[in-house]
């Protein structure tokens, strides 16, 4: 019985997974709005938290912080470089700034500022971005932040979190505020299903096994966790018992959870809505190649820019859907004997 193998899921989710209707019938929300809501809670808790917007406060939902705490919200306009470097200054003067914009504009336009003014100086800046991966689907390639995880992972000292749903996004916001030093939170424009109940044990750097299984492990983050669950469910129908790990923190990586999964299940598939270069798949492969190689496949965006289109269609087109993950699971399981 596969139901009992799930951990921390909301009660209705296993049934929706089985029926294949998670995206149609499940409750969904863009995690950017989960973030904006939790910032209102955080603003009450900590009076040194400030919000920096860059003219997408409606797209982020973070205009609400300005309504609630007008003296602690600054909309610096369409000027991401200035905004991020200003955040570094604020952090060094005792505040905890949260910069809110789209992944493309913070992690690419603002990258030099993130590297030299934020990370190199250990500034206590939190950068929270929506529109990661292909989740701004119809907006097209110019808006799809398909390399934010890669770039942020490359910054020494940056903690990188890519939460899968509403609950874990809210927990990530709280954890980021407690964490000393730069944190990047990667979020979705596209609404994603609510997955977890309150029992989910969120801690930065701790990957969470959300489905038990012995035949292979899928390690996923952000919006691909839902695809990983769907993939595990259909693999189960083929008699494959697949473990699923929500690796919400890309850095620091939970090496132990990954090594244990590799040892116990003997085959790994990573799944990320991000370019294959330098993201989750790279991080896991780098770990395993030195400490315990097993058959492995990486699901992600391979050397291309995507395009406009409905989110689920784009997942299919660019090889990110549950179907592609299942195929990869079959392949790694078949290779298990080879070594």
């Amino acid at each position: 019985m596969s139901t009992s193998r799930y951990r921390y899921l909301r009660p209705e989710v296993p049934e929706l997974l089985r029926a294949g209707t998670l995206f149609r019938d499940g409750e969904k929300r863009s995690t950017r709005f989960s973030y904006a809501d939790e910032m209102l809670v955080l603003g009450e808790q900590l009076d040194n938290v400030v919000m920096l917007n860059a003219d997408v406060s409606k797209g982020m939902g973070t205009f609400t912080f300005g309504q609630r705490f007008p003296e602690r919200e600054f909309n610096l306009g369409i000027a991401e470089q200035n905004t991020i470097a200003a955040a570094a200054g604020m952090a060094h003067a005792g505040l905890i700034p949260f910069v809110s914009t789209y992944a493309i504009f913070a992690t690419l336009r603002g990258l030099d500022m993130i590297r030299n003014s934020v990370c190199y100086t250990h500034a206590n800046v939190k950068i929270a971005c929506s529109h990661a991966g292909i989740t701004p689907a119809e907006d097209g390639a110019t808006h799809q932040g398909q390399e934010d995880l890669t770039l942020m992972r490359a910054m020494p000292g940056m903690t990188v979190i890519a939460p899968a749903d509403e609950l874990t996004t809210r927990r990530a916001v709280q954890a980021a505020a407690e964490w000393q030093g730069p944190v990047y939170i990667s979020m979705t424009k596209e609404p994603v299903p609510f997955l977890y109940d309150e029992s989910y044990p969120f801690a930065i750097g701790r990957a969470v096994t959300i489905r038990e299984g012995d035949d292979a492990t899928i390690i996923a983050n952000r919006d691909m966790v839902a695809q990983a669950l769907l993939a595990a469910e259909s693999a189960a129908a083929e008699g494959l018992d697949v473990r699923v790990i929500d690796c919400h923190t890309l850095k620091p990586l939970d090496e132990e959870a990954i090594l244990v999964a590799a040892r116990e299940t003997g085959a790994i598939v990573t799944a990320e809505d991000n370019i294959l270069v330098g993201g989750l798949g790279s991080a896991v492969a780098e770990l395993l190649i030195e400490h315990g190689p097993v058959p492995m496949r990486r699901i992600g965006i391979d050397e291309t820019f995507a395009q406009s289109g409905p989110y689920l269609d784009l997942l299919e087109r660019y090889g990110l859907s549950a179907g592609h993950i299942v195929q990869a699971v079959r392949e790694v399981v078949a290779r298990k004997g080879d070594a």
């Binding site: 409606k58 306009g77 000027a79 200035n82 907006d139 097209g140 110019t142 808006h143 289109g309 269609d313």
Partner: protein, 288 residues
């Protein structure tokens, strides 16, 4: 010299085309259920004048080396560009229904690799002026006689890169570059004055070494005159500050930040088409 003859005989005709383009872009955004109507409508008269009167172009030869180049640096307003390219014959009318669809020529933001007539990819604000500067310089290096027209948003001028280009173009004595600033006074979140004021605009650009003109961006005669006059402003680059209304032509969209990035529903679309046509003396049924 290779120039395509002006396709619109007079101002009245240009106004009619602008109304048709407004109708097309509103429809397009409605069908896509997403897009940016406000900044598309504010730019409609300016884009119409460029494509149907001022620019030296040949839709049959989109890669003609001596063609004038237009860059929509505020790429989110691409429905107005697509509508003009369709009316001018670069793209088939069937494209109208495909904005933002999978495998469409019409991407959510302009894509020069996919779309004939699109001279530069845009969507991340603050690139287009620099790209235009590069194209203008290339004309000099290659001895070609074309002009580069770049449209930027007023909110977009908050990006630092705009001012890097603003500093460079006069220094390079680029006299084949005209910037059109769509001064519609609204950015994404709110009125520009409520977010990050940018005045005095004319004085800023003048101090950077630009020849500055200021016009009503919805008065077609003024628009055409200013665009034509910008060819003569040697040896400086020219910026035309076009005062416009965001959402122009659709009463409920005008001056309302909500319509920066929201699509009209069926009723709103019907009302919009009605209003645009009535103002231009057209029947909705004829604008198809």
């Amino acid at each position: 010299m290779h120039t395509s003859p002006p396709v619109a005989a007079d101002i009245r005709e240009l106004e009619t085309i602008a109304a048709q383009i407004r109708c097309d872009l509103v429809r397009m955004i409605h069908i896509a259920r997403m897009g940016h109507p406000g900044g598309s409508l504010s730019a409609a008269d300016l884009v119409t004048a460029l494509y149907f009167q001022v620019m030296r172009i040949d839709p049959a030869r989109p890669d003609w080396p001596e063609r004038d180049r237009f860059i929509l640096s505020k790429g989110h307003a691409c429905p107005v560009w697509y509508a003009a390219l369709i009316r001018r014959g670069y793209l088939g009318r069937e494209c109208l229904d495909t904005l933002r669809c999978l495998d469409s020529l019409l991407q959510g933001h302009p894509d020069m690799v996919k779309t004939p007539g699109v001279e530069m990819t845009a969507g991340s604000l603050g690139h287009g002026l620099s790209a235009g500067l590069g194209m203008a310089l290339a004309a000099r290096v290659r001895g070609l006689n074309y002009r580069v027209w770049v449209m930027i948003g007023d909110g977009e001028t908050q990006e630092g890169s705009i001012w890097e280009a603003a500093m460079a173009a006069p220094n390079l004595r680029l006299d084949n570059l005209t910037v059109i600033l769509d001064r519609n006074r609204i950015q994404n979140d709110d009125l520009i004055d409520n977010i990050m004021p940018i005045e005095p605009l004319a004085a800023k650009w003048k101090s950077f070494g630009w020849h500055v003109m200021e016009i009503d961006g919805h008065e077609m005669a003024q628009v055409v005159d200013a665009l034509e006059a910008s060819r003569e402003a040697e040896p400086q680059p020219v910026i035309i500050i076009a005062n416009t209304v965001k959402g122009k032509g659709v009463s409920f969209m005008e001056d309302n930040p909500f319509w920066h990035g929201n699509a009209p529903d069926a009723d709103q679309t019907a009302q919009a088409l009605q209003e645009i046509c009535a103002a231009a003396g057209l029947e909705v049924a004829d604008v198809d």
